[in-house]
Symmetry: C2
Subunit: 379 residues, 2 copies
């Protein structure tokens, strides 16, 4: 009997599998195309401070805890896989364009100082000294030195290699359901009719986590994001640039030798897979507005994927109402950032039976579920 | 011995091959990937009037002659191939946004009336009655009823089928040079070292026509165009819409069940194959400005290809300075439009030795060539 069957071989699923295998557990991951979901689209920002909303302090705590783990996690992953993951520690520059944007920067700055974070308010000139490619119309900036970034696809490739070395088996197949016997999860049923047994089952299907027939209702919905990858950007940016362009958010994240991720739309449209004219237009428009030289870059890739959204934008970690089924999903916009802390917490739960304190407030039972099974929001 | 070896299996090369085979000639076409060059990008507008510049009346005459041939050409091609080519006869609506745009529309209208063409000046309301999806900011329009369009890729597929049925051989290989013996063209040399013999050779390599070592200098240069294909546009437009958006040109050409081509940039950048952030942005921006609902369409494809440009924007048709080498290139922005008249004229030349009157003013000897071989512009 395999100890753990993991549904989903994205960043979260593979990281959980890897860390669990290192704890001595036998692990099988099931995915028909590992790493081609939201993990393939992720920009790789490790930015708990600039990403968290003002009233999401619990999430900010989890993100900060995960960010602290990233350097060691990256180092161990690179050593285990023999691959680089593109960790950049250059920080994030947040800039604004009009008065409202600047007011929002000020509010963010005040919030960050309240939290005791290392953030620096920059004049337009100081912002352009840090990032000379910035448009001259930039009205002001915030330098968040603690924010990092990684190359999400490189991380996934490294996780695949490290997990395999650690003994994880990856089964190529599409998960149809959780196999249930005697009232508890006992493995995964695949679309081809076969079953992958598992003493415990981890659900890491991202936006698709809500759709399995035998799984109790989960408050996970797809939040569509469109994202672009540009080539030819070698030396263009020092680090991640986030901008408010007249109230609209855009980010530019350099990675690799000459690449740039530009993202991302946030759309409630269900599982709509279309890259749209309007989505691509808005991203290009805002990116060019922030860094005019973007105009000359090659549009190498356009992509639409779904984030696993939850009512409070925080993940679902740990036990579920189905005995034996462990949740590692609902990471919304923070999948890459939260990968180390998620993997550590879930591996700990699987190995010892206890969910670590850092993840304790992110169990699914924080949401009330009605008698008919519908999720009613936060308790 | 094959009668004719054709270098290039794009729209022009395949049409020349097909018509020549129907005249009883044995024909071999050489192309490593037929129809994947400029032919794959072409929007398929058959619009001599809206496309010709004011001082390009000879080209306008050739375009008009070819447009007249299109309905019969399409019908014969569809019958011969058993495929449809998507001929649309709905006409073109040209619209403008600001005062300068409207002044340019007025000038175009005056020029078209001078030529005795069927063109109608529309008020903004009349323009929107014809195309209800137009933005309300449109300031005025011109309805050119005689303009048609075809699905360029469907035309190419039909030409391949019809040519094969007519006995044309298509050799998959890359043309390295024209084979010359006894001072005349005798076939094509391929990159793999083999030779395809031909008593006459037709050069139909589009933007690449200028680069063969044994071919006398030709005034053909690559003119880069970026173009988009959108999906989900069923019923959105009645016919082709061209627009001047504050001085910038954009066109939207419906084809198939629900497709729309949006084009095109015009860039002098040599053989630069990159789809750029700026190119795609400008096309999307202008298309959305003209037809706001474009925002909701799927961005199905982005493409960059090279038009074969010439100093006077007109093609090079007929004999060259190398005996036995016949030119069918330099079609710039008018490749699809000029396909029937080019095929007819070149097939006539190959079958009878005489270039028809309609093509007579488009031979390459209209350009002076210096003693060192450089092209010096129009004589």
């Amino acid at each position: 009997m395999t100890d753990v069957a993991v549904a989903g071989g994205g960043l979260v699923g593979m990281a959980v599998a890897w860390r669990s295998a290192l704890r001595g557990l036998s692990v099988t991951v099931v995915d028909d195309a590992p790493g081609t979901g939201a993990s393939a689209a992720a920009a790789g920002m490790l930015a708990p401070v600039t990403e968290a909303g003002y009233r999401e302090e619990a999430l900010l705590g989890l993100g900060t805890a995960s960010l602290q783990r990233w350097p060691a996690f990256a180092a161990e992953l690179e050593a285990a896989s023999g691959r680089t993951v593109g960790l950049r520690t250059a920080g994030t520059l947040v800039v604004g364009f009009d008065e409202d944007d600047v007011r929002e920067l000020d509010a963010l700055h005040a919030f960050q100082r309240e939290l005791g974070l290392a953030v620096e308010r920059l004049t337009p000139r100081e912002a352009r000294r840090r990032e000379p490619a910035l448009a001259t119309r930039v009205r002001g900036g915030l330098l968040v030195l603690g924010d990092h970034s990684v190359d999400g696809r490189a991380v996934h490739a490294a996780l695949l290699a490290a997990a395999e070395t650690a003994g994880v088996a990856v089964v190529r197949g599409r998960v149809a359901d959780v196999a249930v016997a005697g009232g508890r999860a006992r493995g995964l049923r695949l679309e081809d009719g076969t079953t992958v047994p598992g003493d415990r089952v981890v659900l890491a299907l991202g936006a698709h986590s809500g759709g399995l027939p035998s799984v109790p209702p989960l408050p996970v919905r797809p939040v569509k994001g469109q994202i672009l990858r540009l080539a030819g950007a070698g030396g263009l940016l020092e680090g991640t640039v986030r901008a408010l362009v007249r109230g609209r958010h855009v980010y530019l994240v350099p990675y690799g030798a000459d690449r740039l991720v530009v993202g991302a739309t946030v759309e409630d449209r269900g599982f709509d897979a279309r890259v749209t004219a309007g989505g691509v237009h808005d991203l290009l428009h805002d990116a060019i507005e922030v860094v005019p030289e973007v105009e000359e870059l090659e549009l190498a890739e356009t992509l639409a994927r779904w984030r696993p959204g939850t009512p409070d934008n925080a993940p679902l970690l740990g036990p579920s109402r189905l005995p034996g089924l462990v949740l590692a999903t609902g990471h919304h916009r923070n999948g890459v950032l939260l990968t180390p802390v998620t993997a550590e917490a879930i591996a700990e739960l699987l190995a010892t039976g206890a969910l670590p304190e850092v993840a304790a407030s992110f169990t699914a039972d924080r949401f009330a579920v009605g008698s008919s099974g519908e999720v009613r929001g936060c308790r």
